[in-house]
Amino acid sequence: MLFNSVQFALFLPIAFLCYWGITQIRPKAQNLFLIGASYLFYAWWDWRFLGLIAFSTVVDYVVGQRIYVHLDDRRRAKAWLMLSVMANLGLLGFFKYYNFFVDSFVDGLQALGYTPESSYTLNIILPVGISFYTFQTLSYSFDIYYRRLKPTTNFVAFAAFVSFFPQLVAGPIERASNLLHQIERSRKFHYTQAADGLKLILWGLFKKLVIADSLAPMVDDIFAHYGTYPSSTLILGVVMFSFQVYGDFSGYSDIAIGTAKLFGIELMSNFRFPHFSRNVAEYWQRWHVSLSTWFRHYVYIPLGGSRVSKRRAVFNIAVVFLVSGLWHGANWTFVFWGGFHALLFIPVFLLKRNRIYMESVIGQNSFLPSVKEIGQVLLTFGLVTFSRIFFRSPTLTDAFGYIQGIFTDVRIAAYTHPVGYRMIDYYVLMLLFVVYEYRIRKNERNPFHFKSPVIRFVLYVLVIFAMLLFYDDGVNRSFIYFQF
């Protein structure tokens, strides 16, 4: 069930009313209801993979208990932790990476002059959300192992934590210390929280339906025919992809966070205006925050983090970015993308500028950003956008072909929409979006933060009006990050 579907528009109010209705009668049934709603939500896509969620739930629940029992015996605790790692990464490895590794192995053999007689790849469907919920359950086991968390004894709460439908299929990847603790307690309805949830859902839908979906046909066209376009169009294509992927994924996260608020639960922020970052380090503190912090806590720090020699720290950073790239997809393009970001990040780290923007935002104390900040933002956006050529291209050959096109066929030519729509509409849309995002840059949790109720109402109407104006029934409405 997609967040941007009529089915979800029906499902959500029914689930909302039943949930709070049940709360009044029997508060303890909240979590049971959440599990039922979440499994129904997931089954709408494919009920056959419900077993995987249930499997991951049972394994990590049991493992969590066992690790805690053996916390003083680190060898046994580690053995139980490894069971969780193997179970979750085993699922992920089989469904997501099996064909990739087999293909890569066969390619390697062929490079050495040996051609295997038969193919060993399988026709596997990638269960949606598997990369997200396996990482979430893994974090639970890790946190118990590192003594950051006590295991829950409430299996129903744990099952609700793993399957909580707003963030089940594409995050934010929550940690038990935040989400499980909320689920273990009974929730009460708060008007402000629910109203804020609806506002976030509205803003998320705008980002998805208006920004991401309306740019998608042009991005698809330019990336599919990059060999026929001049450099100006290729640059336009990847810039539009930057807007598209941001609108798509941050839109999804906003809807997820807003939906969770309707059920009395606060999820972590996943996007904090990443395209206003002043260097790549700040970008990674603002883009897909839940994944970045996951890798920091469960890969980077266990490897030693930055409290090791410089050389080792650089190695740790490279590992984190390469693994993060591979997490996104079973394709060398993502590994390259991760490697490219490591190359961007390491100089910032060596110059000790990776933490300087942690507490501030562009234009922190002024209405407009300074010229220096604009330059920094444009440079960071340019570099991040350039890296997305690898992210978006189906193969490395295509990615390098695209880059070659940018630097060889240097021409400026007007681009025409594949269906023939007016291009000026999209340029104005992107400009207005940037201006509005800048206006709200200090609070990603409240995109309609205006005192006047009239202004707020006008904004609601305009946002929905824009959805009508840019609606395109020929667009694939799925979210980009579902494929990960």
Binding site: S5, V6, Q7, L10, L17, W20, F189, Y191, A194, A195, L198, V419, G420, Y421, R422, D425, F457, Y460, V461, I464, F465, L468, L469, F470, Y471, D472, D473
Partner: protein, 321 residues
């Protein structure tokens, strides 16, 4: 909780109202002039209707229409007489021409080229060959005075029936209260035009089917007969039947077609039966720019210029110098 639900419903209502006002203020919706069936069993539009035709969510294509006293979209009234040279252009939405300003139609372009000629455009959306031949037959008194009748056809769409049957049920349904409300809710009309309401209709349909199923009215097993006219021979046979029913004046009546999308066997049939046709395929093939609109496949201004040229070149020989 109660406050939240009530306020949400209130906001939803106010937002829908504001959107309705915005759609009306910017005239984003397309008008659909009311349909009627006259005493001759000819479907047409209610005379005197005027409005706008819109294509594209953001009103990328915007034109005016004006229904004349005869019930067809045209800048002129149809008053045939013996002392003028008159041409009737009969066809579907391509001739009806809501996609163009009514005073810049195909007929007007022909008249601009041939000042002595008056063109009467009998266009009606979805008109098949059966409809067209019925119209010519039903308006016999008027058409007797018209010098040339040109029927626009698309071979794939227009030969599915052997006799015209006016859709009284549709016209009656469109006059019912739910349809009148729907027609006056411009937000819904706008949404319908661009497929926004389709997912809602699909879900509502699925729920309705489910309700019928639980009530024991399961229609899933009932085979719905499909009217499939796939064979070329069947279409040609239909045309033959139409000629038998309505007649065909070989001197006066001719077809307007694009031979690139017309089966060769049909063209052979026409040749064998002395049915003349004007083919605009060559003009379109030589076109130096797109001949159809961006937002739908109707002819654009350039496409109509080309066709007007083909028709005018032919008529030039017929009109007295």
């Amino acid at each position: 909780m109660k406050k939240f639900v009530l306020k949400s419903v209130l906001y939803l209502g106010l937002i829908l109202l504001a959107l309705e006002l915005l759609v009306r203020a910017f005239h984003l919706h397309a008008d659909d002039p009311p349909k009627m069936i006259d005493e001759f069993g000819v479907e047409k539009r209610v005379p005197g209707s005027t409005g706008h035709y819109v294509k594209g969510n953001r009103r990328q294509h915007f034109t005016h229409f004006s229904i004349n006293g005869s019930g067809f979209n045209s800048y002129r009234e149809f008053e045939p007489s013996k002392d003028k040279y008159e041409v009737a252009l009969v066809g579907d939405s391509f001739i009806e021409g809501f996609h163009q300003d009514y005073d810049n139609s195909l007929g007007k372009k022909i008249e601009d080229r041939l000042p002595k000629v008056e063109v009467f455009e009998y266009g009606y959306t979805g008109a098949t060959m059966a409809y067209q031949m019925h119209l010519v037959d039903a308006y016999g008194n008027r058409f007797d005075k018209i010098d040339k009748v040109i029927l626009y056809m698309k071979f794939k769409n227009d030969f599915d029936s052997r006799k015209h049957r006016a859709d009284y049920e549709l016209v009656r349904m469109l006059k019912t209260l739910p349809f009148r409300i729907r027609e006056n809710c411009k937000l819904w009309v706008y949404g319908s035009n661009y497929g926004m309401t389709l997912p809602i209709k699909n879900v509502a349909g699925a729920i309705w089917q489910g309700l019928n199923f639980t009530r024991g009215i399961d229609k899933r097993g009932v085979a719905v007969p499909e009217i499939v006219v796939s064979s070329v021979a069947e279409r040609i046979e239909n045309f033959r039947k139409l000629i038998t029913t309505y007649g065909w004046d070989t001197e006066k009546t001719m077809l307007l077609l694009d031979s690139r999308v017309t089966d060769g066997r049909f063209l052979d049939f026409c040749d064998e039966n002395n049915i003349r046709y004007l083919d605009f395929s060559t003009a379109f093939q030589k076109a130096k720019a797109p001949v159809t609109l961006v937002y739908d496949k109707h002819w654009n201004d350039y496409g109509r210029e080309l066709i007007a040229g083909v028709i005018a070149d032919y008529l030039q020989k017929e009109v007295e110098p």
